[in-house]
């Protein structure tokens, strides 16, 4: 199932992509590693502290989902520079768990399949500019982006 929760996706072609961090999510401390890596990437790109905190919080939610529901996974942080100078941080969290049965439902605040409060994905959607979820049994990818002009 594929579902895109979109606010405003910049459709500019990118002139450069760079992988800034890859964090393997195997245990709880990896959630902390992933979110501090994200904050550092945002800081180095000149994103303000509000955006740094939004990003770190969103990564925390995404990484926890991968750990608790997907039995672990990988968090990849990529930065892209558009032709117009726009900077985008793209966070990709992938797991090989059972998948999200109903993505639309998982995006509704308060719904949870696994004993959580069901605020994780709705929070990511609110904190980031764009969220895309592709989920099937054995492979779930959650991609969230945040873009700013320098």
């Amino acid at each position: 199932m594929h579902h895109a929760a979109q606010r405003h996706e910049p459709k500019t072609s990118t002139v450069s992509d760079r992988v800034d961090a890859i964090v393997t999510i195997k245990e709880q401390t990896d959630i902390l590693h992933a979110r501090s890596a994200g904050r550092e990437v945002a800081r180095q790109l000149g994103f303000g502290t509000v955006d740094q905190t939004r990003l770190a919080t969103a990564i925390s939610e995404m990484a926890r989902n991968a750990l608790n529901y997907g039995k672990g996974g990988t968090c990849t942080i990529v930065t892209e520079k558009g032709q117009d100078g726009r900077l985008t941080i793209r966070v990709l969290v992938e797991d090989h768990g059972p998948g999200i049965a109903d993505v639309a439902l998982a995006l509704k605040p308060g719904f949870s399949s696994g004993g959580g409060l069901g605020q994780g994905l709705p929070a990511v959607r609110r904190l980031m500019d764009h969220l895309e979820i592709d989920s099937q049994p054995g492979r779930t990818t959650v991609v969230a982006t945040m873009s700013r002009r320098p």
């Binding site: 902390l32 904050r39 609110r126």
Partner: protein
């Protein structure tokens, strides 16, 4: 990592100064509840000035801890929340509505004493009418 809980009379003080894993946070909650169960305190000041991220899990845990402590007859005041954390929580729709707050540890202790005093007064007044 274990977070120390200090005792100041019948007030518990704890300050989270590093990022906590979910288990660390759960352990802190359990220890706090244990202390209230043993009736060593009337209230808790929980300082989170060291937290630069409070995600939905941590927000829920803080809310629940406050509610649990209250059910056991205690009070909780949360202190030291970073402005960025407050902003993010509101954006997430995860306002920590159930908890009394104060700007720092000192104000938190003062606030907690007020809350406990007001509560004890109510209780005493309730008892005077047979």
């Amino acid at each position: 990592m274990r977070i120390p809980i200090l005792r100041l009379g019948r007030i518990l003080l704890t300050s989270v100064q590093t990022d906590l894993t979910d288990d660390d946070a759960g352990q802190l909650q359990a220890e706090v509840l244990q202390l209230f169960h043993r009736d060593v305190a009337d209230g808790l000041v929980l300082d989170i000035s060291g937290l630069d991220v409070v995600d939905s899990y941590m927000a829920r845990l803080l809310n629940e801890t406050a509610r649990m402590v209250r059910m056991m007859g205690g009070e909780v005041v949360l202190t030291g929340m970073h402005p960025m954390v407050a902003l993010t929580l509101v954006e997430m729709g995860q306002e920590i509505i159930g908890i009394q707050t104060a700007i720092d540890l000192e104000a938190g202790v003062a606030r907690l004493r007020e809350v406990i005093h007001a509560r004890d007064k109510r209780t005493t007044q309730g008892r005077t009418t047979p």
